[in-house]
Symmetry: C2
Subunit: 383 residues, 2 copies
């Protein structure tokens, strides 16, 4: 059985003070349904990716919560896996359609983070980490700083290399009307931004964001002419929750495993990918992703990114994070994994406007939970 | 493709002050694996049903969290749908096996509630309700009291009828070594217990509990002789989150829909069921379930229960909640939907000891989230 995406949409990402989670969800799903040219009546299940609603807002039972808001009377589920909640929701949705239980389903990723005090958000986000990390007062910038330091020591990665990721992704975001940030930044601006967790500076970190994204997937497009993109691989993988339990600090094992599994399932190799949305919650994370997915050998991604090899307009082949990534487009955690797929859908349909990757035929989305305990890889292909 | 349960286990349910969620999960899963006579190496995915860990304990990312504890390196997901989290986790697990993506998976339901102040637990549980209900200070006993009043007015259901459910389920629990309560209660004791939300008294309400339950499901038992039970239907349904938005207060539409769907899928009718575990979070909820699933016509379940028609030793056919139900066995919310299936597995294998339902061949599990916004029905059959 083949699985197709027939509609996709994202809200604007950013500090959306005046917009509720309901409204965000409504905007994303309504626009995705309109994009697919179908109504809620054709929706047989709703999968919601969200991490923080319970901890920050006291609202759980989000499947039914958003189903009611959206006028969907079908079975509804919330799937949670920290910042990979969106990717995991999509993975479970794909499996449920493959099972034959449902034909057409919506995957909604949604998160509202800016209504809360930053320290409360930081504490809630640590719900993605291990008990040892949480109780010892670690933060995610701190955990990724440890990874960055280890990578810098082992592979001579520099702070300028890290900054290059931010420069590229802020440039891409400046081309994306839905992105949180629209101002390009320079290497010097990144290097001079305030230190968050050495060596990570403010501009090495993805922001606190609000936003929602939705995709409609189906086993059977309603018409031959209905635009669609095929999901040719959907793979999830798991590693230990805590950094201290891992064999290596310079690679994410779950990313490697999900990537290998996805390429095997799709019957292609990393060099076949034209456009990728990878999980750059911190600049170091994009460097890890590029290596662990297999786009570059270990230790070679940083300089390649610094040379502009994955930047729109400069890349000869693979463009990475044309949406702006988590870094530039924003990172409403439960929405991120779905937004990545929305971006790929737009790219593969050739409708990404000024940030269009020319000749994009095969795309890859890579979503990570916590400091790498969960990873999902989805591969999409135009037909 | 057929889906089989090959192993199942539950921890003791109760106020387990000295036991962590990790330990609970470990006990349930280890025993389920031993029951199936397999090791974690054969597990290809882990589905965790849990509602409150984030809100009460600050720990999310529970798929990876419990995978690490259990030594499972496979993809891991948390599925949440309030008190139906266990049923929804099982439903998604069934679909994922049907999809061919995974062959053998574990479904773990787990909840730790007694480490927290009761008022904090009550507040967190309202995360299952609508915003209107939450913000107006409603509680679940209060919401089910409204349902009970409406049912009493419409169908002449009495407080003694409600009490009969508690009497039956406490009697069943007294036969279950894993149950939270082991003392039978009388009608008079229920009626004289302190009022929680009129007409519901303390002994009309399920308790705050700790516990975990696990089932191993597979598309292919490893040997012909491996004990197994088939899941012949797995159906979920959704209704509005809030009571005020519903057409009726005396039935749960999601239960009706899930029940109808499950009977259709299984190709059987309610009278074919020998043993059922239904969602009796409050005594009125079992009466609703008996009617909405179709075991009795509307308005006829209460008197039938009062006559003992569904009680072990008295029933001529259908026995309901032989485990003691949520009322007597306990209600660690994320674990409940999985524990129901563990009980059915034991019953259908004829190993339920002194609470064995004679000639149990077909069983039904019914799990509800909130005041009825989510419902799942699973039907199991011996082979």
């Amino acid at each position: 059985m083949n699985i197709y995406i027939i509609g996709a949409a994202t809200t604007k990402f950013g500090e959306l003070w005046g917009v509720s989670p309901r409204t965000l969800a409504h905007q994303a799903v309504s626009n995705a349904l309109a994009d697919a040219d179908i109504t809620t009546k054709e929706i047989e299940a709703l999968f919601v990716g969200n991490m923080l609603s319970g901890m920050l807002g006291g609202q759980e039972h989000l499947g039914a919560f958003f189903a009611e808001e959206l006028g969907i009377t079908a079975p509804a589920f919330k799937v949670e896996g920290a910042c990979a909640s969106g990717g995991l929701a999509l993975h479970n949705a794909v499996n449920s359609v493959l099972s034959g239980q449902y034909k057409t389903v919506v995957v909604l990723g949604v998160e509202k983070m800016t209504d809360h005090k930053p320290e409360d958000v930081a504490t809630a986000l640590m719900g993605a980490g291990s008990e040892g990390e949480r109780l010892s007062g670690a933060t995610f910038p701190g955990l990724y700083a440890i990874i960055a330091r280890a990578h810098m020591e082992k592979y001579k990665t520099t702070e300028r290399d890290l900054a290059s990721v931010a420069v590229k992704n802020h440039y891409h975001a400046s081309l994306n009307p839905n992105a949180q940030f629209h101002s390009p930044v320079t290497i010097e601006q990144v290097l001079k931004s305030s230190c968050v967790a050495d060596p990570l500076k403010l501009l090495d970190c993805s922001p606190i964001s609000d936003g929602a994204a939705a995709v409609i997937i189906t086993s059977k497009p309603s018409t031959v002419n209905q635009k669609h993109v095929e999901i040719i691989a959907s793979v999830a993988a798991t590693d230990t929750l805590g950094l201290a339990q891992r064999g290596s600090l310079t690679e994410l094992h779950a990313t490697k495993e999900a990537g290998l599994g996805a390429f095997k399932k799709a019957g292609i190799k990393p060099s076949d990918i034209d456009v990728a949305e990878v999980h750059d919650c911190f600049t170091i994370a994009e460097i890890l992703a590029m290596e662990d997915i297999g786009f570059y050998k270990k230790g070679e991604a940083a300089s390649a990114i610094t040379r502009g090899e994955t930047m729109l307009g400069k890349s000869q082949h693979l463009v990475v994070n044309p949406s702006g990534g988590l870094k530039g487009c924003g990172h409403p955690v439960g929405a991120t994994g779905v937004k990545q797929v929305v971006e790929l859908f737009d790219q593969l349909l050739g409708r990404a406007q000024i940030r269009q990757v020319s000749h994009a035929k095969i795309g890859l989305a890579h979503n990570v939970g916590g400091s790498g305990a969960t990873a999902t890889v989805h591969i999409l292909k135009t037909i």
